[in-house]
Symmetry: C2
Subunit: 315 residues, 2 copies
């Protein structure tokens, strides 16, 4: 049992958590950052980032996050590996329970992020970041004039396909229902119309990707026809998947107010329903709408500034 | 008269405008960025930045902004020097008028930012970034264990003084009214109470700074007593000024909906009252509440993503 009291505990070390740590460290808040595995968040699984402002040339995701981590440590923030299982509030005293023990603190920033719902197909994990992408905004530019497939028949999937259509040679939307099934496309009618009218977009009806194939880089997929059960190989330069995100908030159920999808509800100062507990980054549905590192980083800066103001009023 | 039509014209090349340009360029939008003077915004006048996430060591403001500019250019964004004097909408056709002519476009992102209201004192311009700062969050850390003065008796000034009190040895709030004048401090009573109770904070009543002194770096100020007119020299390590910001929106009056302080009003997708016209960065009062480069950059990314979606629905 650690009875020391922190000014701030940040949960999660992606761009939101690490930027919050940089700001808190420079404000000399006594800050602890807890991360379940490796600091870096989703960017640890990203080969290259081209759109994080300030980096003229592309930078490897893990390198960018390593720099952010050392930047936070330079200002005195302590980073520990611990899996948080619960937070609790008793009056103005907050606690964070983890597999490494319980910590006490005056404020908390939850920045545990989301993970994309993953394609269930053989080889999907191996080719992630090597031709298989969960973010068209981030990676579409790398597929200029290529042929790609899109998995996702909801708003996110069709929006990604339309975005990609400006960059790529062709984009085939793989739909796991037959063409005339009224539930085949869950996307808004306008998006469906735009996709149908777009000469670069086509549909692959009533099929699923069962395997992703290639050597070092994705080169083809195995498609199964759901009517006949037959499988075929289709060559492609890339596969984009947009079938939803899963917010990492299970450990907060019953404590923090969450929306119907499990995202944390905050006010415009990023404070949750518990005074002193803030949320930053993709764990907020507004930020996750964009799912961009710079948006999450901004949230982290804002949350840390609001934490500092909160504490200044209670000194 | 330039009759070419752009997909997007961005007005202003600070962190918001340049990040919008990076995202628009990678989405292959035909984008023009207009800047009145030198790309970079307020960071061009900032010696060093320590809190922009991803930069492990401090980086000179102009260097960071130069990198952002070249990053945008790498993705095909054209940057021109032009002073915009008006924007106009006729149906879905938008135009931007400048001292270099009129440009036509389908969408606009206004990212003209704000400038801090400046201290009116001899030498103030010379020592800006060299002991005279307009941002306690940004620069306070550089003044650890130093003696500083704060100009600003409103909420922003007292908030800055309380923030600084955690870092510095002492902070004197210079107030241009006598102590018992009921209008001396415009800040909220709670902030006044916190400042009065704080052992590191003291007040310098009924005085104004008439001159800032030093060689390469600020070392003292000349204070004038408003009751007697007498002047005295006071040594100090730094002066922080928080007397408001001025949004650069004069050219938009009568066109875009502005709030009572002149900031652009947007919805949560950063769209203004004119369809296709978006705003990003400190020109929005929410972002200016924080006045941080990473927050402005995030706004730029969000605005560009929303522009892309807006155009996809009208292709």
């Amino acid at each position: 049992m650690n009875t020391r009291q922190y000014d701030l505990i940040i949960i999660g070390a992606g761009p939101a958590g690490l930027t919050a740590a940089i700001y808190a460290g420079r404000a000399l808040l006594n800050t602890l950052l807890l991360e379940r595995t490796l600091p870096g968040g989703q960017l640890n699984e990203t080969d290259y980032v081209e759109n994080f402002p300030g980096f003229e040339e592309k930078i490897a995701g893990p390198q960018l996050m390593g720099q952010m981590k050392r930047q936070a440590e330079r200002f005195g923030v302590k980073i520990e590996i611990a899996a948080v299982t619960a937070i609790a509030a008793e009056g103005e005293s907050l606690s964070v329970t983890s597999d490494r023990g319980t910590y006490f603190t005056r404020t908390i920033i939850v920045a545990t992020g989301t993970r994309p719902r993953e394609l269930v197909a053989a080889g999907a994990a191996k080719f992630k970041g090597r031709g298989l992408s969960y973010c068209a905004t981030c990676d579409g530019y790398f597929f200029r004039n290529k042929d790609v497939l899109e998995v996702g028949a909801g708003d996110a999937g069709l929006t990604a396909a339309l975005f990609l259509s400006k960059l790529v040679k062709s984009v085939g939307i793989v739909v796991r229902h037959p063409q005339h099934d009224p539930n085949a496309l869950r996307a808004a009618p306008l998006l469906r119309q735009r996709a149908e009218e777009n000469p670069k977009v086509y549909f692959v009806w009533n099929k699923v990707i069962t395997e992703v194939l290639g050597e070092t880089h994705l080169k083809a997929v195995k498609l199964q026809d759901l009517a006949t059960g037959k499988e075929e190989i289709m060559t492609t330069d890339g596969v984009f998947v947009n079938i939803g995100h899963i917010p990492a908030t299970d450990f907060l159920r019953g404590t923090l107010a969450l929306d119907e999808s499990g995202y944390i509800i905050t006010d415009d100062k990023l404070q949750t329903n518990i005074p002193g507990v803030f949320a930053a980054g993709d764990i907020r549905s507004w930020a996750n709408r964009y799912a961009q590192a710079v948006v999450a980083a901004s949230d982290g800066a804002v949350a840390a500034i609001e934490v500092e103001k909160y504490l200044a009023n209670r000194r």
